[in-house]
Amino acid sequence: MFDFSEEQIVRYSRHIILPEIGGKGQKKLLEGKVLLVGAGGLGSPSAYYLAAAGVGKIGIVDMDVVDLSNLQRQILHHTGDLGRAKTDSAKEKLNALNPDVELNTYNERVSSENIMELFRDYDIIVDGCDNFPTRYLINDACVLTGKVNVHGSIFRFEGQATVFQPGNGPCYRCLYPDPPPPGMVPSCQEAGVLGVLPGLIGTVQAVETLKLILGVGETLVGRLLLYDALSLRFREMKLRRDPDCPICGENPSIKELIDYEEFCNIQAARGH
């Protein structure tokens, strides 16, 4: 009744038997269109679980190549992938996991020039990038196009996750109106990260993405999840829409995309 193949019925059987998903939900997943920005620490687990779940169309944007220092946490990439484009390495792994998924890869840096084109074919954006300029661009493009932004970020042993859904809650600028100026946050070189931390936050992003496609449960809209791996504490802060928000407020001052200056060079960001 849902035009599933025999193989799909078996592959997705553990979803289909869940009353919250069923054949109807699995069909929604197969019709889902998700763009992952970043195929690194956060993007790796998100991409694996979204592909395994049968999300029908997945796009991945990343301009980096696989570096040895990535392998401690970026589980899409293996030792044999060193020097390959992360998009190629990701595509190979995800195709092997689930041939149902249409995978589109974009080996480019996100900028104000290409972001609208990149977003065009997708409904949900999973932000797994590693820098403030891209995070603000993703936010602003999501607000301007009405697309949902599934946010995750990590620092050493701490992670944050939330969902920004235009029209139904705050955006990233309601939370943090402007990016920090260079020098006000620790530089990329200073920051290490526990390898499994992005695994945890990236899978939270995958969970939220699946719930958004399925329309089930209660998403992180309006809530900021804070995770501290050292004390193993999850906390939650209330997020509110800011009527003075520069992009989604009542009198927005930002009407077009802004390319902020990069804070640390690309080489340093790779080492992050």
Binding site: G38, G40, G41, L42, G43, D64, N70, Q74, D127, G128, C129, D130, N131, F132, R135, G152, S153, I154, F155, R156, F157, E158, Q160, L175, Y176, P177, D178, P179, P180, M184, V185, P186, A191, V193, P198, L224, L226, D228, L230, S231, R235, E236, M237, K238, L239, R240, D242, A269, R270, H272
Partner: protein, 92 residues
């Protein structure tokens, strides 16, 4: 009022690596004046020269953002948990 303050990783250098510190204050302004005495340098990381909260840091009392309460004049109660939550960018 005696409150617990949660210190985020980027500021723990200033608090001798403590992720939680106890401090006194009747409101956010007096709390941070007190914290500045204990941990010199912490205030300027959170407030600008004009005394406004920096735009990439938020302060929560329990789970409420002070910007949606009375800002830095928000009164504190004994046992409140104050969290400093900066924007973090990392993802790869």
């Amino acid at each position: 009022m005696s409150v617990q303050v949660r210190i985020p990783t980027p500021l723990q250098k200033l608090t001798q690596n403590q992720s939680q510190v106890a401090a006194e204050g009747s409101d956010i302004v007096s709390l941070f004046d007190e914290l500045e005495k204990q941990f010199p340098g912490i205030k300027e990381r959170i407030f600008d020269e004009a005394g406004s909260l920096r735009r990439f840091v938020n302060i929560y009392i329990n789970d409420e953002d002070i910007r949606f309460l009375d800002g830095d004049k928000t009164a504190l109660k004994d046992g409140d948990e104050v969290s400093i939550v900066p924007a973090i960018a990392g993802g790869i």
